[in-house]
């Protein structure tokens, strides 16, 4: 007997992937993977970047075709040629990078690709009504009339979920859905997931965060190097076990942070006001001081002005009011080059967009900011011998794995590119370092390495501003933690005294003493 | 797999070429044929400058007895001078008896090419310079005295105009177009001193649309008689027809485009010049002569449109103007 969801769709009782093999030129992305999910459960898919999680799910969603293996839905073999086929079968997917069109409104994004009740003409009012119903039913608050570019990531995520529900998804694939949320938002989201599961939805939860996986899922499958490294029920598995299954070796989960005597104030920010893309002040009167040998962690939900603050500090975004003082020199509204010259290094948030040039070689990327200086160039001519010598040293110092210095960076893994950027920025011996999301999308091994280097830099007396949405990272590395909310610093706490609950409340805008 | 595909393609090409190669070859032309080549800036169907010469050549060819007596080779749309000069050189080296460089912009190139081919006769127009001053002896030159016909047509236009407003439109304010347009203006003012003549240029030899709008503008400004030069006037003629205005053509008989609107055209008849050049070459004179197309030598002809009745006194005035030009009392 078919059961139905409250959305009116039949429940998808069981989805089973058997012996899935997917090859890309030179890479075996999935190697005979078995995976299944049943109605009413949350099944976590855990693994490092590049372990093959997304590839597996893209085959379920009809974006790739498996080279071998079967996909069975309620016992019936399915052949998905396009996402449309998957959608028709009741499968929905929330992608890690949101699949939203920024220039369209929320309803327009949801209505995209759907049949309209008015034939060729859009019926946005009707879509809007249904969106509000779903939003009510699952507790997903959205403003249907707003343009997507105006929205914070949390809200964009809710739109993605409604989009899938609107299409009658009974099985939902959630690719790293918590990466950009506050702890409170994560809690709310988990409540929604549990509600959905209890109603009969099947959920696949992709993540690399062990805490979350243990908090939400019924079963956990770990992928490593394209293979299924094991499926365990939640009850009889521990964090340490899971980490070992993921990485294939024991993992450090705690860092040693020796005390350092604070040096002079290196970076001084005074009453800074910076306009955001929407014309309003995204940074609204921020004042901070960071001393040499100190890591100041800047926590906060994405979209609260951290990006704009980082860009202003890098000299990329005009300062409307206030001052930035680097090593006692005023650099307010100076060019990126001036910031660099005063001794600042910067690790941008989006490494492929802002930190590196895909088609440039490793060597070319390594000299991006310093190519005009000795020894890289002399009298406007690049000195390739010197470049190869210096760059080769940095590459080996920072453990960047690359076939050669002339390999385009687009062929490197995310972790290696991040190490390259780190190497480039740290080899300059900066007195001030702005590091924005330095380990986002990087595997555990590389993350560990990057964290170690940041702590070493602290010992050398660098003043570091660490901007991250990963509270664990911030707590593990920072001396002090500042929390940013709606463009302001809502509070600064000593990292020893900070509890996740307290930080979470601050990130939600609650000022605690 | 890809290279296999390309191999197949190459094979097909070769087969196609072989098949084509087996087609019967054109019969070898006997050496008595007089070979003429012409290089033109615009198309042989431009209803203007290039077409007038090309049709002239064909007419002469027919008179001489067809392809067995005279062979014509042509290169059209040679608006790039280096291409034209390559073509001229190429024809000369292939043994053409007469190579016509039908564009004043080709002069500099011709001056360099002609001395290399003393056995070939060249012709250059429109110009009157045969480069004799430079010691070159194998270049003919020819020029249309476009202002003569302009003057006569201007006379007719002025006398037939009811509004006394006359519009002229050309491509660029230079060369043949300028001669014609200024001659026309003189003719109008000579016949009707209080007439109002306005002139527009479109800046292009091929902007048919803007030329049509220029005609439209003249008509909106009150003009009932229009004329213009270059291949782009074809659009303007249509506008004249639609708006009930009249048109005067030049370089080519444009009556066929608008039998209800074209009153008369100045037609360039190059046949006399062509025949004379051929005769000269056959007699061993390879150049040095400058030809002009005038009423007097019959190179310029006014072709009236039989479908439009022209008052007798107007026609008489036109004939008088031609006579005056011929005897030199009027210099347009």
């Amino acid at each position: 007997m078919t059961r139905y969801l409250s959305t009116g769709r039949p429940i998808l009782e069981e989805m089973r992937m058997q012996g899935i093999v997917k090859r890309f030129p030179g890479v075996l992305a999935n190697d005979h993977v078995d995976f299944d999910v049943r109605a009413g459960e949350v099944h976590a898919l855990l693994g490092e970047n590049g372990a093959g999680k997304s590839t597996l799910m893209r085959q379920l969603y009809g974006m790739y075709k498996p080279d071998e293996g079967q996909i069975l839905v309620d016992g019936k073999e399915m052949h998905f040629n396009s996402p449309q086929d998957a959608i028709n079968a009741g499968i929905g997917m929330i992608h890690q990078h949101f699949m939203l069109v920024p220039s369209l409104t929320v309803v327009e994004n949801i209505a995209l690709g759907l049949k309209s009740s008015r034939g060729l003409v859009l019926d946005l009012d009707r879509v809007e009504k249904r969106v509000l119903e779903l939003s009510e039913q699952y507790g997903l608050k959205v403003d249907p009339r707003a343009y997507v570019w105006q929205l914070a990531v949390g809200e964009q995520q809710r739109i993605e979920i409604i989009k899938a529900l609107y299409r009658g998804a009974s099985l939902l694939v959630l690719d790293e859905p918590t990466a950009v949320l506050t702890p409170q938002e994560v809690d709310d989201l988990f409540v929604t997931f549990k509600r959905m599961a209890s109603e009969g939805h099947a959920l696949i939860f992709i993540s690399h965060k062990l805490n979350e996986v243990l908090a939400i899922s019924n079963r956990i499958t770990v992928l490593r190097d394209g293979k299924n490294a094991g499926t365990r029920p939640n009850e009889n598995v521990t964090k340490v076990e899971l980490a070992q299954m993921m990485v294939g070796r024991p993992v450090i989960l705690q860092y040693n942070r020796p005390p350092v005597e604070a040096g002079p104030v290196r970076l001084r920010i005074q009453d800074l006001h910076v306009r955001g893309d929407r014309g309003k002040d995204a940074v609204d009167g921020v004042s901070l001081e960071i001393c040499g040998g100190e890591i100041l962690g800047l926590a906060g939900v994405s979209g609260n002005g951290q990006r704009e603050l980082a860009e202003a500090l890098a000299g990329m975004r005009p300062v409307r009011q206030g001052h930035i003082i680097l090593n006692d020199k005023e650099v307010t509204n100076g060019s990126p080059l001036q910031h660099i010259d005063v001794g600042q290094s910067y690790i941008p948030e989006e490494r492929m967009k802002e930190g590196a040039i895909r088609d440039f070689s490793v060597a070319d990327n390594m000299i991006l900011a310093d190519h005009g200086k000795k020894p890289y160039s002399r009298r406007s001519f690049l000195d390739f011998n010197a470049i190869h010598e210096k760059v080769g040293k940095i590459v080996s110092d920072f453990n960047v794995k690359t076939p050669s210095l002339d390999t385009p960076v687009k062929n490197l893994s995310g972790g290696n590119i991040q190490k390259l950027i780190l190497g480039r920025e740290l080899s300059r011996c900066p007195s001030v370092l702005i590091a924005s999301q330095p380990t986002r999308g990087v595997d555990i091994g590389a993350s560990e390495y990057i964290h170690q280097r940041l702590l070493e830099q602290r010992l050398c007396g660098t003043a570091t501003l660490l901007i991250s949405e990963d509270l664990d990272e911030i707590r593990a590395l920072s001396d002090r933690i500042a929390v940013m909310y709606e463009g302001r610093i809502i509070g600064i706490v000593d990292s020893k005294d900070a509890t996740p609950d307290q930080l979470g409340l601050m990130m939600a805008g609650v000022e605690t003493a | 797999m890809k290279s296999k595909f390309s191999r197949i393609v190459v094979l097909i090409v070769l087969v196609a070429m072989l098949v084509a190669g087996c087609a019967p070859k054109a019969t070898e032309v006997p050496s008595t044929v007089f070979k003429v080549a012409i290089v033109m800036p615009s198309s042989i169907t431009d209803m203007a400058f290039s077409q007038s010469m090309f049709e002239g050549l064909k007419k002469v060819q027919a008179e001489m007895g067809g392809e067995s007596a005279m062979e014509i080779a042509y290169s059209e749309n040679m608006f790039k001078v280096p291409d034209a000069s390559a073509a001229i050189r190429d024809y000369a080296s292939k043994g053409y008896n007469l190579v016509i460089a039908h564009g004043s912009q080709y002069g500099t190139s011709l001056q360099q090419i002609a001395p290399d081919f003393p056995k070939t006769a060249f012709a250059w127009g429109t110009s009157l310079d045969t480069f004799q001053a430079e010691g070159i002896t194998n270049v003919f030159a020819y020029q249309a005295e476009a202002q003569e016909g302009g003057y006569v047509l201007g006379t007719v236009a002025a006398l037939m105009s009811k509004s006394g407003v006359i519009g002229e439109t050309g491509p660029v304010d230079a060369g043949d177009a300028k001669l014609y347009i200024e001659g026309f203006q003189k003719g109008v003012l000579a016949a009707k001193p209080d007439a109002q003549v306005s002139v527009t240029y479109t800046g292009s030899f091929s902007d048919v649309s803007l030329m049509a709008t220029a005609a439209e503008t003249h008509i909106a400004a009150g003009a009932d008689m229009l004329t213009g030069s270059s291949q782009s006037v074809v659009g303007a003629i249509g506008v004249a027809k639609d708006k009930g205005a009249f048109w005067f053509g030049t370089q080519w008989d444009q009556t066929s485009l608008a039998p209800t609107a074209v009153i008369a055209s100045q037609v360039y008849d190059w046949t006399g010049i062509i025949k004379d050049m051929i005769a000269s070459v056959k007699a061993g004179v390879m150049g040095g002569k400058g030809y002009t197309l005038t009423f007097k030598n019959g190179g310029l002809v006014i072709a009236y449109n039989p479908a439009i009745t022209i008052p007798a006194e107007v026609k008489a005035a036109a004939d008088a103007a031609i006579a005056a030009i011929n005897d030199g009392t009027v210099v347009p």
Binding site: P25, P336, I357, F381 | S6
Partner: protein, 353 residues
């Protein structure tokens, strides 16, 4: 070794599209009653078969290469220069004006001055869209197209007014062309009785210079960085708008130089339609050369040969010249259409390697 072979194969792959285009052309020729074998024979022989053909090909390739080099720089800087046409015209006008204006000066001074005038004028014509792009974000495709139209009218004005050959007024013919340039600025002829001039050498030397410039100097490095990733370049302290403008200015300078060399080497005077088509053909030649300055050298020669040979073919079999445009269009379409194949091969190899 295998890598080199692969690269060579990929570079040559687009050329395989040419036979396909010619096959279609053969059908058209047959339909027009011409013999395709004879036609293509004339084409190849005409372009490369003898001294005259070869030199014509090289004469044609010279402006294509120069414009193509400008296109390379602009593309590498992430901007599209469709303004080659106008830049050639103003470059030629400026060189002519200087040569005619100071004709008494010794050639040793005047000749480089003329080339410089062409470069500067072209740079200025490319600089307007460049600065508009840098300062106001005006789309360069739009502004360069407009600048082309403006240059044509400027040339029309100058050539029948201030710059017209006094002899033309004297003779009453008033052909829109400038006076003949003084002999002192004529570029030396490399092969007697042909049009091949030393400009061809200048172009090849400059191709090497541009290669060195783009890949060996800091400014070239910055231009390429800006072209590949504006944001990353900006974060690294590179002034993105400046280098975008600079790429357009340099693109204009090369087209302007092409104009100057065309009047000084081939025409010896400025006239109408001097630039016709070189602006676009230069883009195509640069693309055939994979937007690499050194690749542009053989690509320009091949494309120049195609143009020259096509004209010869038209004369040999007496078909309308329009057939040539049709064929060239097909070649371009098929070549760019087939490039994806070599791109995919390259990608496959990279992910493996």
């Amino acid at each position: 070794m295998k890598r080199v072979l692969n690269k060579v194969f990929e570079a040559l792959l687009p050329l395989l599209a040419v036979p396909v285009a010619f096959l279609i052309g053969a059908i058209m020729l047959l339909a027009l009653g011409a013999n395709p074998l004879e036609a293509y024979g004339a084409m190849i022989a005409g372009a490369f078969g003898d001294v005259s053909g070869l030199t014509q090909t090289l004469v044609k390739a010279t402006p294509l290469l120069l414009v193509g080099l400008g296109v390379c720089i602009a593309f590498r800087g992430g901007v599209i220069n469709i303004g080659g046409e106008g830049q050639i015209i103003v470059g030629a006008l400026a060189a002519t004006a200087v040569a005619v204006g100071f004709k008494e000066w010794p050639g040793l001074v005047l000749l480089p001055l003329c080339l410089l005038a062409g470069v500067l004028a072209g740079a200025m014509w490319g600089g307007v869209p460049g600065i508009l792009k840098a300062k106001l974000g005006v789309n360069e495709i739009l502004s360069t197209v407009m600048m082309n139209a403006i240059a044509v009218q400027l040339s029309n004005y100058l050539l029948r007014g201030p710059m017209i050959d006094p002899k033309e007024i004297e003779a009453g013919t008033r052909i829109a062309q400038s006076a003949l340039l003084p002999r002192s600025v004529w570029l030396a002829r490399l092969v007697p009785q042909t049009l091949l001039h030393s400009g061809a050498i200048i172009a090849v030397v400059l191709a090497v210079v541009v290669f060195i410039f783009l890949w060996r100097t800091t400014i070239g490095y910055r231009i390429r960085a800006v072209g590949l990733n504006r944001d990353a370049a900006k974060y690294a302290g590179i002034k993105v708008p400046f280098y975008q403008a600079l790429s357009l200015i340099l693109g204009g300078a090369f087209a302007g130089l092409a104009g100057a060399i065309e009047v000084m080497g081939v025409q010896h005077r400025m006239m109408e339609n001097l630039a016709s088509g070189y602006g676009f053909s230069g883009i195509v030649a640069a693309l055939f050369g994979s937007l690499h300055p050194l690749g542009s050298i053989p690509a320009s020669v091949l494309f120049g040969g195609l143009l020259v040979g096509a004209d010869k073919m038209q004369r040999a079999v007496q078909v309308p010249s329009a057939l040539i445009d049709t064929l060239l269009g097909l070649v371009v379409l098929l070549v760019v259409g087939s490039q994806v194949i070599s791109r995919r091969r390259a990608r496959r190899r990279e992910t493996r390697g």
